[in-house]
């Protein structure tokens, strides 16, 4: 911004009219363009033909091969032209290798002479490539491990070298994956050798409780970061605050677990409001309406609330609108926020506006405690391995998928969910999820003009199947049963969503 404070600018009206669109930009650009002339030297070089033809050819070959490699890396799939690729790889690597050879001084005499003469002719223009013919049979195996102690950025490039990511074809097929039961049984038996050290570490953090409490009282929010679950620590802190507060009626503590998947703005704000006045009813409406109501409620009472928020960077709290709501809540003078974060990149969640309403004081709180409550270890790992990926994440996932599908796919899913729900009501709770007969669903779909042929019907179903939004099984009679792998509440929510 210009350094002319409080100067009234010109009337906007002038600029709004179309008479002079983009007045300033071209005017600046033009003289510049004239000022810069293309250096004539490059022209001269090619015109004189100083660069030998083979060299140019070679350069383009290298370019092409690099392009091919990039495509492969970006595309990410092994293509059919394995052979082409190998050639490309060879061409590309030949130059790299040569460089290394240069550095190591292992270059043959005649080659090095050739290289130096090249350099003398066109020092700056010399392409790094070398004609493949010259290479002969000399191939040096490159070590898969990069040299040690590289600076971080070099290591990055070394590890992301095109074609460098060669991994073995081993798979985990021979390994029996863990089930939930086995996981928890074994975990219960396991004794962590570091138990005492972790407890000692925690005791160190406990010593700073009074400091945190002081920071809270001064209008700061406290944010704990570092490796390890901070849930137990924060629970202890809640106890500390609780036992130090002289009157529990004017000072309440609310604990929020950010990692709980069902967490919503309404639940958090509702609990806060409930802490202030159990009879208060949150108004229906958006986050802002609820927030306003809670803030008004707070301002009307002399109750202070300490919110202890586990994992403020957990996925449920990363939903749009969540952080601004929390920030505004934390900015209220009667609200004191203590939160913990688990990911190393959490500051990216907040812009400077949010940061200043949170008014954070950060503390390194590495605990090394395991994330017992925060993570669903077995599910997470299986999803990571792409083994038994949990179907698209509940209601949001379905809505997300359906948004990108055509209208009749939505209708079909609505039909299916409705039928499954009806079947659930008939059969009552318990047992497997009831299914809908394939035939019956097809007939209904035809009746409702969702599809006209079985072909179209199957195409639609396939889409659902790919996203694991439906399951199909055969009952004892051999009839195919379709179902949706969600619990009843989720199904109802989905249906509601689809109908609106």
């Amino acid at each position: 911004m210009k350094g002319l404070p409080r100067k009234r600018g010109k009337k906007l009206e002038d600029t709004t009219s179309n008479d002079q669109p983009e007045v300033s930009t071209p005017r600046h650009r033009k003289p510049r363009a004239i000022g810069y002339t293309t250096p004539s030297r490059t022209n001269g070089v090619t015109a004189k033909g100083e660069t030998p033809r083979w060299k140019r050819n070679d350069r383009s070959a290298k370019k092409k091969s690099a392009l091919a490699l990039i495509e492969r890396v970006v595309g990410g799939e092994s293509s059919d032209e394995e052979a082409d690729e190998e050639i490309a790889q060879e061409i590309y690597e030949s130059s790299e290798e040569e460089e290394e050879a240069d550095e190591e001084g292992r270059l043959g005499v005649d080659e090095s002479v050739g290289a130096t003469t090249d350099e003398a002719a066109t020092p700056s223009k010399r392409p790094r490539g070398r004609p493949p013919t010259k290479k002969g049979g000399r191939t040096r195996k490159k070590s898969p491990t990069p040299p040690r102690d590289l600076p971080p950025h070099e290591l990055y490039f070394a590890q992301n070298r095109p074609g460098a990511a060669k991994t073995s074809n081993n798979t985990l097929t021979s390994l029996k994956l863990l089930t939930h039961d086995e996981y928890f049984t074994l975990l219960r038996e396991y004794q962590d050798p570091h138990k005492e050290d972790i407890e000692f570490l925690q005791s160190l953090h406990i010593e700073s409780f009074p400091q945190w409490a002081f920071e809270l009282s001064q209008g700061f929010s406290v944010c704990l970061y570092g490796y390890g679950s901070k849930r137990a620590l924060l629970h202890k802190f809640a106890n500390h605050v609780f036992s130090n507060s002289p009157d529990h009626d004017v000072h309440k503590i609310v604990i929020v677990n950010g990692y709980v998947r069902t967490n919503s703005v309404r639940e958090i704000l509702g609990t806060v409001a409930g802490a202030v006045d159990p009879s208060h009813k949150l108004p229906t409406g958006g986050a802002t309406v609820m927030l306003d109501s809670v803030k008004n409620l707070l301002s009307s009472r002399e109750i202070h609330i300490t919110i202890i928020l586990n994992s403020i960077d957990a996925a449920p709290l990363r939903k749009p609108g969540m952080q601004p709501t929390l920030a505004q809540l934390a900015a209220h003078p009667q609200v004191h926020l203590v939160c913990s974060t688990d990911t190393p990149d959490f500051p990216l969640m907040w812009d400077s506006g949010l940061r200043s309403s949170f008014n954070f004081a950060f503390h390194d709180c590495t605990t090394f405690a395991s994330y017992d409550a925060e993570l669903e270890v077995v599910d997470d790992v299986h999803e990571l391995l792409g083994r038994k990926s949990r179907r698209v994440g509940g209601k949001e996932g379905v809505t997300y998928v359906l948004r990108s599908l055509p209208e009749n796919a939505k209708n079909l899913f609505r039909l299916l969910v409705g039928e499954v729900l009806a079947a659930m009501d008939d059969e009552g709770e318990g047992g497997e999820t009831p299914g809908v007969e394939y035939r019956m669903l097809y007939n209904k779909a035809v009746e409702e003009f969702i599809c006209s042929s079985e072909m179209a019907f199957r195409t639609l179903l396939k889409e659902f199947h790919d996203h694991q939004m439906i399951t199909s099984r055969k009952d004892v009679m051999g009839t195919e049963l379709l179902s949706a792998p969600f619990c009843k509440e989720e199904l109802e929510a989905i249906l509601e969503d689809l109908m609106s």
């Binding site: 491990t145 798979t171 863990l178 709980v260 400077s352």
Partner: protein, 710 residues
């Protein structure tokens, strides 16, 4: 505490809920009691609840040996000093926006006179990138507009209005319920009073409401207009313009970049609906400058912020466009740290009673580096008696500390006066803040520092000299309100007399020179003409200049020399670090600030995982060289492997590498399934931390997402 333990199991279940109220005693208590008690306590504890909100007591320092009286005194001192500073800062912030407020208000008031019909009056407020203090600005705006321009103001943030419907709902809701009093019922009533009930996003409802409560303007303020979707903005604006004949809309846009850029995002047809004017807000840099002057450099600030700390603060402000609230918080944090953790701050109290002091206080005073320097200095000067007194006699020491505290205040005033004079000079070598920090760090001594200032004085033309002298005289007479300096004519009587004589002499010389028909100059003043092209030419010019000096010129040169000498004598002060007992009133530690405000979570997590020993302090994990110890936490082991992999990781290989380290082959190795459990847990943790994600390139492969140290 026992109650906590017994009820803790009942809590176990609650603990996994999304949100709950924490109250370990609730189970034991009767449900009806808290409700009853609240009524009573509300009346009784009105004053007490302040205290609850206030602060938990400061800890006792000296390893718990500090008396409660002292720790309370520190707390009181902190509360008092910060509240003083805070008031000042708030006043500055409020004042900073005044002129903008005034301009915007008068624009909206005058607009009906000159606005073309059918266009929405709109004010574009160029706020700059400092979005954090926008809230204050818009809050002030809405207050002022409501009071002075008879308008209701609806503040919209991009987060509130994701689509047209939500935006309209918010606008209508806020206008109708504006200014307290109205609650939900009122809203219903006013909306559906006559005839049909309106939808809550129908502007008709607003129209109906305005019939009963007429307003001159309905101002819609887009606080962060760049963040709004441009289509939404265009829709809203065209909608407003079509309702303009019934509802007197006016718009405020907070623009962070420039109006041209903002305009380019809107449809041309939309732009034509607007009749606008542009308003600038005082930029954050100048506000920070002002805050610095009143809150940091001001002689009444009880705590000096050291040059290192302040520099870090200001650099961050400049380089990272940190917000002004953050700057204020950082100031506050410095106060907090100082009073919370430094037991000697009790000496800052004006009414400190000697008997309140403890043995520990005296001891730690004698341990201060500045005290040692002081004693050493006395010894070197041969004043062993004074040194002995300081070391042995407690009473004498306390008296001395008090004297020095008084002196330090005088020192600050003196320093600021000097800086004021230096800032007056025609060619200030840096801004006030820079000068101030330099002076704190190095002191001021014109004979070997501040060459720029010296040069600029020497080269002064007579006119400059006159204006310099008059301005210095004025400064001495009037002081500087923003810096809290009073006039000090009595104290600097000799200087005033000297400067006045310089002033009159210069004027006299100038007059004489004019009469003789040439321009008065000193032998130095030639040098600031354009540099001659060659060294020879320069030399010729110099000798020429010297040769051409007239008698008046020579007299003027002598005069400048005298002025220079006087200034050198006058403008001289010690650095903050040289002052005895500066540890009591100087805060200059960078460490807690860095950690608390500029966290480096990546580094912390990386360090924890690559060297768990740093945190755990256990004997088993001390790594020898690069060996990966099997006793490391599983995640740390995986992280070691992770560092060595390329961008794609084969989980099967990762598992076999892991198992080779912790597995049965080693002594005390784990069996396969237990190892797998730990492996799972570590992998899940890596995923949650965002180090890896699923990859579909190959079976059982995962993609690496983070590189250490980047």
């Amino acid at each position: 505490m026992t109650t906590h333990e017994t009820t803790s199991e009942a809590f176990e279940e609650k603990q996994h809920q999304g949100a709950y109220i924490f109250n370990p005693l609730e189970e034991a208590e009767d449900k009806s009691r808290p409700a009853k008690r609240r009524k009573v306590s509300k009346k009784l504890n009105k004053s007490e609840s302040r205290k609850v909100a206030g602060a938990p007591a400061f800890p006792r320092l000296f390893g718990g040996g500090e008396s409660e009286r002292c720790s309370q005194l520190r707390q009181k001192l902190f509360d008092y000093s910060w509240s003083q500073i805070d008031q000042r800062i708030q006043r500055i912030l409020r004042e900073a926006n005044q002129s903008t407020l005034h301009q915007v208000t008068s624009f909206l008031q005058d607009v009906p006179d000159h606005a073309p019909a059918g266009k929405i009056p709109s004010a574009f407020i160029i706020t700059g990138p400092n979005i954090a203090s926008q809230d204050l600005l818009f809050e002030q705006l809405s207050d002022t507009l409501h009071a002075q321009a008879d308008a209701t103001v609806v503040r919209l943030r991009s987060g509130d209005a994701s689509n047209l419907k939500a935006a309209l709902k918010k606008i209508i809701h806020d206008t109708v319920t504006n200014r307290g009093s109205a609650d939900e019922n009122d809203l219903e009533l006013s909306v559906s009073k006559d005839g049909p009930k309106f939808l809550n996003y129908d502007l008709e409802a607003l129209y109906a409401h305005l019939k009963s409560v007429p307003r001159r303007h309905v101002v819609v303020a887009f606080q962060d207009s760049e963040a709004f979707e441009s289509g939404l903005l265009s829709d809203l604006i065209s909608l407003f313009s079509s309702w303009l004949d019934r509802i007197p809309f006016a718009l405020l846009f907070g623009v962070a970049t420039s109006v041209e850029l903002f305009e380019a995002r809107l449809l041309k047809s939309t732009c034509q609906c607007l009749y606008g004017d542009q308003f600038d807000v005082e930029q954050s840099a100048s506000i920070v400058d002002k805050i610095f002057k009143t809150a940091v450099a001001h002689p009444e600030a009880p705590l000096r912020l050291g040059p290192n700390y302040a520099r870090v603060l200001l650099e961050r402000q400049q380089d990272q466009v940190a917000s002004i609230p953050l700057f204020i918080s950082s100031l506050k944090y410095a106060y907090m740290c100082h009073f919370y953790a430094n037991p000697l701050t009790v000496f800052l109290a004006d009414d400190l009673e000697t008997e309140a002091l403890q043995k520990e206080h005296i001891e730690s005073i004698r341990g201060l580096p500045s005290f040692r320097r002081l004693v050493e200095m006395h010894v070197q000067e041969g004043d062993t008696k004074q040194a002995k007194l300081l070391l042995d006699d407690d009473k004498h020491l306390i008296e001395h500390v008090r004297n020095c505290m008084g002196k330090s205040r005088q020192w600050v005033v003196n320093l600021l006066r000097i800086l004021k004079v230096m800032a007056i000079s025609t060619n200030p070598s840096g801004d006030f803040v820079g000068l101030y920090l330099d002076a704190l760090l190095n002191g001021i001594d014109l004979s070997d520092q501040n060459a720029d200032f010296r040069e600029s004085i020497k080269r002064m033309q007579p006119a400059d000299c006159i204006s310099f002298s008059t301005r210095v005289l004025d400064a001495i007479k009037d002081g500087d309100l923003s810096l809290g300096l009073d006039g000090c004519v009595e104290e600097l009587e000799s200087t005033v007399a000297f400067l006045s004589s310089i002033l009159t002499e210069t004027q006299q010389l100038q007059k004489d020179a004019e009469e003789k028909g040439h321009v008065l100059r000193s032998k130095y003043s030639g040098q600031n003409k354009i540099l001659r092209a060659t060294v020879v030419a320069q030399k010729v010019q110099l000798s020429h200049d010297a040769a051409m000096l007239t008698d008046e010129d020579k007299a003027y040169t002598a005069l400048i020399d005298r002025l220079m000498d006087h200034l050198q004598m006058l403008l001289r002060t010690d650095s903050a670090g040289d002052m005895p007992y500066n540890e009591i009133w100087l805060y200059d530690a960078k460490t807690p600030y860095r950690d608390v405000f500029v966290p480096r979570p990546r580094t912390v997590v990386e360090r924890a995982l690559s060297r768990p020993h740093d945190y755990l302090g256990c004997s088993c994990c001390k790594s020898r060289g690069d060996q990966i110890m099997p006793t490391l936490p599983a995640t740390a082991i995986l992280y070691q492997f992770y560092l060595e992999t390329g961008s794609l990781i084969n989980t099967a290989d990762l598992w076999s590498a892991y198992f080779a380290i912790v597995g049965e082959d080693n002594d005390e190795g784990l069996d396969e399934r237990t190892a797998l459990v730990l492996f799972y847990r570590a992998l899940a943790e890596m995923r949650a931390a965002g180090f890896v994600k699923q990859s579909r390139k190959k079976a059982d492969h995962i993609a690496k997402l983070a590189w250490k140290g980047l």
